[in-house]
Amino acid sequence: MIPLFDTSVPPDAVLPPDAVLPLLVLASSLVPGLVIFFLGEERVRTRTLLNLGGALTKLALVGWMFRGVYEGQRYEARLPLLDGLDLVLRVGSLSLLFLVLSAGLWLVTTVYAVGYLERSPNRSRFFGFFSLCVTATVGVAMSGNLLTFILFFELLTLTTYPLVVHRGTEAARRAGLAYLAHTVFAGVMLLAGTVWLYTLTGTLTFAPRGFVSEIADTHRGPLIAIFALLIAGVGVKAALVPLHGWLPLAMVAPAPVSALLHAVAVVKAGAFGIVLIVYDVFGVEQAAELGLTGPLAAVAAVTIIYGSLRALFQDDLKRRLAFSTVSQVSYIVLGVAIVGPLASVGGIVHLVHQGIMKITLFFCAGNLAETLGIHKVSEMNGVGRRMPWTMGAFSIAALGMIGVPPIAGFVSKWYLGLGALEAGVHWPLYVLTLSSLLNAAYFLPILHAAWFCEPTTQWPAAGSGTGTENGKPIGDSGRWLRPETGWLLLLPPLVTAALSLLIGLFASSPFSPLEWSLLIAEREFHYP
């Protein structure tokens, strides 16, 4: 096994040569972000160029690192912060999964945001913080010890707050306040847990199978308390019940923010944090021995069911999707909490699958709101005829959420179920079945209403305002050259919906997320 960690390097040493790439990945969104802050509002082309350039550069760099990690190359950048504690950026197979997800979805969201905010004020401010938010996310992905993780985690809080309150309305500010209250409180708990852990173990570096095994026998009580603190701190972002209250409120943000927050940055960073804490800080077998995985699984199960139940009765489309996120992210936590290699594969691969499917749903919700002013499910009657491509993408992603093969959601549910059976517990299976039923109950009526009911309001015709137009709404014999909404708004959900279909269909091909998750389980957790 190639060792991924090298603690023999003294803190003041010159950075080793393979430290450049992680720093470049960070810089590829940090530098454009900082520059965009100082651009005027009217410099649209420069700003778009910087954004897209940064996103493409990041994707290219991550792709380069992907090949490197597959061949066993190490990437690590160290910056001495304190005596004995460094800022460590390292890239292993698990980090790479999150990195590819972040970089890819950032590119797609940037395209979407450019189209969505075309006539909004304060775009420079928005895109500046947008880029900083992604910087924080990739920093979380590449963190090599708990200190680095906390640093970028808190940075994520600070950079996403301005995005939540971007519109500046009263509701937005209240949502931002709730968001800050939750996440700052969480940050305090996270810091407390980390400091306590440091005083007990003397190290914070992530290690396969965790680094608390030496003190586990003598300090059972403190370790349990530390686990609770850390999980509570990270669980606020991961929207575990009862810490999820900020998520439905934060839906007042513009659609690109909701998409990014709920698919890539905040919620996934929280889930990723839980994965790191259970696997790389405590070690899953150690955590099971301390009796911690049982309560975690119970919390995850309660969240799954509660989120789905609440989603059933929401009329606002984005709130329904928010509660659906609350429910789905806990699949990852459930997979982590069930002690077994297949369950962890299911949880880790659901990171990717849920991200892609959820971002499609939010893109489509944003399209509906932006083009036709639809915010509620009860207003969605007949919208499939007016915006068939958007609703088509929505349908694919919704079916994937329910767990219908061959879309990606089916594969992660399969592995979660199989992992539960392998670990000898049957109740996760029932939780998953019930959750699928509830998912079907709140997604299928939307699809039915959109495709088969008559519209209740009159919507503006497609392409209206673009020259000669006889005012007839585009029906199902529409010419494909006149899109139902802007191209920038239409392409991203189509791309991500197609991705979710392909990822599910070719799940067992080389380099699919599933295969990569199996590789992660093999490399980092030493399971057979």
């Binding site: 803190p11 003041d12 001495p80 912060l81 304190l82």
Partner: protein, 108 residues
């Protein structure tokens, strides 16, 4: 770059940012915030440079110097008290004149 130099640079950057904010913003509350940022920068410089000299023959220093750390603690307390006083003065100013900036009424 060694560790103390790095943190000292960060502290200096904070002081510069705070100074910029102090000069540029007209709103008094923001000036107070900028002053707090400056004081944070100063504290950071103090803590970064708080080391004892190594003993004869030893390569690394035995630990941080407690005196600058005590000074920083005192400084934090002083900063809090001063901020409180300043905010009370701002509140009083607004109650009396209805403005939250300094300067003549003829100034824009």
């Amino acid at each position: 770059m060694t560790q103390p130099v790095f943190w000292a640079l960060v502290g200096m950057a904070l002081v510069v940012i705070g100074l910029y904010g102090l000069i540029v913003h007209a709103h008094l509350l923001r000036k107070i915030l900028a002053l707090n940022v400056i004081s944070s920068g100063v504290f950071l410089v103090f803590i970064a440079l708080a080391r004892r000299a190594p003993r004869d023959g030893a390569a690394i220093s035995p630990g941080p110097d407690p005196v600058p750390q005590a000074m920083v603690l005192t400084g934090i307390v002083v900063a809090v008290a001063a901020t409180g006083l300043a905010v009370a003065l701002i509140v009083r100013l607004r109650a009396m004149t209805g403005r939250t900036t300094l300067g003549d009424e003829a100034d824009n």
